[in-house]
Symmetry: C2
Subunit: 597 residues, 2 copies
């Protein structure tokens, strides 16, 4: 058997009990690994009505079958748990090196259950696994924690995953961080770790991941590397300019949200573009495990250096907050990494706060003297810090923009779907992406089906972004394919260049499986439906497959997409039908039977 | 002024005196910076007859005018000193991050003169410069030294340059290492640092390098990045497979030396190719400062992980030693980095040792039980260690292959030019490269004029490698252009995609200079002639512009280039004429006058 290790590490924190168990390979056939398999185990093991921050919730930290192999972009792992932000199956994945090293240590998955009676961290050195006291790092930021625990471990090859103060403070927009700068960012997964009193997980693996067909793999790998190299996005745009290469592209399409989505075009966007970052801030590329793309940036800014911001981060702390100070954007990004926060949700919550101030909901006296207004860069950076440490109004903002806006009686000012903040694409100007935001199982998320790829970038083919034709089909396929990619432990960015057949070739070569393209995509569909069933159980219905009023009712006010609206009412029934769901968005028995669920 | 800082740090170790002085901008106009300017200052300040390992020798550690700017591949610095291996102007350059940070700290150059009365290291934190005691790290390897001194400095953003035990032991093939894995490798520069009792130099710079024309630079940068991306070597081969992409290419041309150049083709080369490394060892890319190419590899091997070997290293510990054990090659490479050794010279010395054993010169009883024979991988790795620590026969091998072979009365078995080991290209099958090896100012070196680029890779145009036509002209231009690239602080690999006009555009945009293409290339020619004049002063003559007998007299015995010989006697007079030198290879007064020397 290749790819899979075949072993799970289960840690009962309440009892301090560590055990291992074999991976259920029957389940793995149907749900692959990573997001899919961990999601299925989560829905099987955790009752849908448990409180996300209670000991009854569990955390499944899972690598993919391809994680840690020689497949390109195979550095990803996922954190699956019940989201404290919105109750969905949180499955936030992250790159860097940690996930591959969990496999090298001999595990496909680590499951955390119960709750420790004091702050602890988990130390995994191959088959030596220990629960250790973390009192001395509790309260410390991610950088200091990483440094301290690495020294304590005594081998600087150890990889560290940890939460920051935000996770300890149970911020609902807190992240799980690894390798200093990489985030399993969304859905508040950091708070779940915090609620269990787990500060960090160290892995040092000296083993390797087997490959079932090394000779076949050499050919498959060479083909995949060639496609990634020759593709304009993975071979040119991302390597040269990082993900912020999108700033100018998205802005020029007029779907670049400004000031909490009040506008959709920024005449000054180039001040904070990927091109400008490359000219003024880049120190070096900082690639994830086995990534030929290397979009990760290591940058320099006024007074500091470290990870450079991603596109979404640049946007959210930049134009969406009315800010063009690139140093301040770098600082805000660095603070999020340091404190263990999701940049998108933090920035969007600050922008919502700015609009709440603008419209008089938040009163000046609530701000403790820290400006919260569009365009104020220093204030923005300070609010990031306050959110991380839950200081003053920051404590409320640490619960995300929906709860913030709702507490002022203005939930419509929160640009969220299912309470999760929507990323940097105005859905009114890009119909498929709009439908995807509305139906994404985890809420306002771009990486569950990145329709920007066909609708803006023209990959794998160019679609008319204003047309509804075929979009329901595209969204379904993209969502299912993404579930496959996530579940294999690969990076979604590989899909700009690779297609279903490439992924089938990779998983078959590495694991020795024999998936046809259709069977593999059916795994993705199964994973999607499993997540959907969970959402229905926790109380979501078709009514929540929607977007904020602003993005449904009001036409875009400016720029190249001026006047456009999202025609969600027309798209949604087509999507349900495409999925084999009934009119209420519930999977039909036929659909589930077909998928063997 | 952009690019240049305008300040030199001079450290007199004998007196413990630290001073700064302005950079001589008049000299910089003619000799640029880095290799060129430091080389000129070296020949001005250090008498040609000083012993390289005496306190009278000086070390000039110099960044280029573009080092630390936003120019692509601008991470390089150079170590200029008199070579203890062969008396030439050693000017070994290295990438990584250290050089850029020396600029950030506020210096174009650090000059070390005299000799400390005890082991010391230099700590540079912007304008706070201290000579510190290094007794506790003397004897330690590069990794331990880096770790210890970083902790001592108390800021993990500090960059460390150091020597290993090999430099302390005055090995004539020892390197200066920086950022753990990057080497100013050749000509024994590590021993000169060792002779001065300087273990390490730490830099922490918080400043930045100014840019004279940021707007112009944005356009120039975008153009250069585009060319680097679209070029087959810098945009495809090197990023995907690292420099070891050359293994199959060079082998298939039949100029891939095997067993100390006894053969020139290896039927099993693919076992240790870049493609195989990528399939079996790569963990991630590890790019230098501002490098869009990112050929650096971070790899995994049996029992370890760290920097992956370069092409020359793979070859020298691989086919040139009759070895195809890729784990062993990785281990030998790692040991060289750890002990501070030049991989090419170490591997070539071991291979020469293997031939000396094969032919009965070295007796079994001299080996202390460690096998020294073609194909013995474990023995090879152990000999690397013995060379680093100067143990047994390793002490003699630490002086390089020429002194080793010469001590057994068989200097013809040392594959060197001017005592420096020749890299991985059989000159008999590639005439221009052969001429370049013979005339390179520092001896058997491929990176003073990489004729493989036109003669094998077809860049910037494809030349017939067996033809003599035009080769003297090409070699001259390549040598001069390389001197320009080195002296600006850029990586030679950029020249697969960029040409003279691109470099002129970059230096003019950054520094505000107005070099025409011709003026810039004349700087390169001036630098070349300055180095040549030094060689003549220390006693070299046309008689040493040659290659080992094996590579001149004997035709290639096997493979695609079978039967070929290097026609050096025909090439050399043309080259001298092309350079404006007399028949004895001495620059004529007209030549020097034309160059303003």
């Amino acid at each position: 058997m290749g790819g899979y290790i075949g072993k799970i590490l289960r840690v009962n924190l309440t009892e301090g009990k560590i055990s291992t168990e074999p991976l259920n390979m029957e389940l793995a056939k149907k749900y692959l690994s990573g997001r899919g398999l961990a999601g299925k185990m989560f829905t099987d093991e955790v009752a849908s009505d448990v409180d996300a921050l209670s000991p009854e919730n569990k955390i499944f930290i899972a690598a993919g079958a391809l994680t840690g192999t020689n497949a390109p972009t195979s550095g990803r792992y996922v954190v699956v748990t019940k989201s404290p932000l919105n109750g969905v199956v949180a499955s936030s994945n992250s790159g860097g090196q940690w996930g591959a090293h969990m496999k090298f240590a001999g595990y496909d998955m680590v499951i955390l259950e119960g709750k420790a009676d004091r702050p602890v961290y988990l130390s995994i050195h191959d088959d030596v696994v220990e629960i250790k006291d973390a009192a001395h790092v509790w309260g410390k930021d991610v950088y200091a924690t990483t440094d301290t625990l690495k020294k304590e471990f005594g081998d600087d090859k150890v990889k560290v995953l940890s939460i920051g103060p935000a996770g300890e403070n149970l911020s609902l927009i807190s992240a799980v961080m690894n390798d200093l700068y990489r985030a399993a960012g969304r859905s508040g997964v950091g708070a779940v770790m915090g609620s269990k009193n787990v500060k960090a997980i160290l892995v040092r693996g000296t083993g390797k991941v087997e490959n079932a067909n090394p000779d076949v793999m050499k050919t498959v790998l060479s083909s995949a590397l060639g496609k990634l190299r020759e593709n304009g996005v993975t071979g040119q745009g991302l390597p040269t300019y990082g993900t912020a290469v999108l700033v100018n592209i998205i802005n020029e399409s007029g779907i670049y949200p400004v000031k909490n989505f009040q506008e959709s075009y920024d005449a000054e966007a180039d001040l904070i573009s990927g091109e400008t970052m490359t000219a003024n801030h880049l120190i070096k590329k900082d690639p994830c495990y086995r990534c030929p793309i290397a979009c990760g940036r290591y940058s320099k800014w006024e007074g500091g250096e470290g990870a450079g911001p991603e596109y979404e981060t640049v946007w959210v702390f930049g134009s969406n907050s009315g800010i063009h100070d690139f140093d301040a954007i770098h600082k805000a990004n660095d603070l999020c990494n340091k404190l263990g926060l999701d940049t998108i949700s933090v920035g969007a919550t600050i922008a919502a706060g700015m609009e709440l101030v603008q419209r008089g909901y938040i009163k000046p006296e609530e701000l403790d003297g820290t400006p919260l207004e569009f365009g104020n860069a220093a204030g923005m950076v300070e609010w990031v810090r306050k959110i991380g440490y839950a200081e003053g109004l920051g404590a409320k903002m640490a619960l995300g923009s929906y709860r913030l806006a709702e507490s002022y009686g203005a939930p419509e000012l929160s640009m969220t779907v299912k309470k999760l903040e929507i990323p940097a694409y105005d859905p009114r100007g890009v119909q498929g992406q709009g439908l995807q935001f509305a139906t994404s199982n985890r809420g306002g998320c771009h990486v569950r089906g990145y329709m920007i790829s066909p609708e803006i970038l023209g990959l794998p083919e160019k679609l008319d972004r204003t047309s509804l034709e075929g979009k329901a089909t595209w969204v379904k396929i993209f969502q299912d394919l993404t579930a496959v990619i996530d579940s294999l432990g690969l990076c979604l960015f590989s899909s700009f260049a690779l297609g279903l057949s490439d992924y089938a070739a990779l998983v078959n070569a590495v694991t020795g499986a024999n998936y046809t393209d259709e069977e593999l995509l059916a795994c993705g569909e199964r994973i999607w439906n499993n997540e959907r069933l969970h959402n229905l159980r926790v109380g979501y219905s078709a009514a929540e497959d929607t977007l904020p009023k602003r993005l449904i009712q009001d036409p875009i006010v400016d720029g190249p997409s001026k006047g456009q609206v999202l025609k969600l009412a027309e798209l949604l029934p087509k999507y349900y039908a495409e999925r084999g769901w009934d009119e209420a968005g519930v999977p039909t028995p036929e659909c589930l039977t077909k998928l063997g669920m």
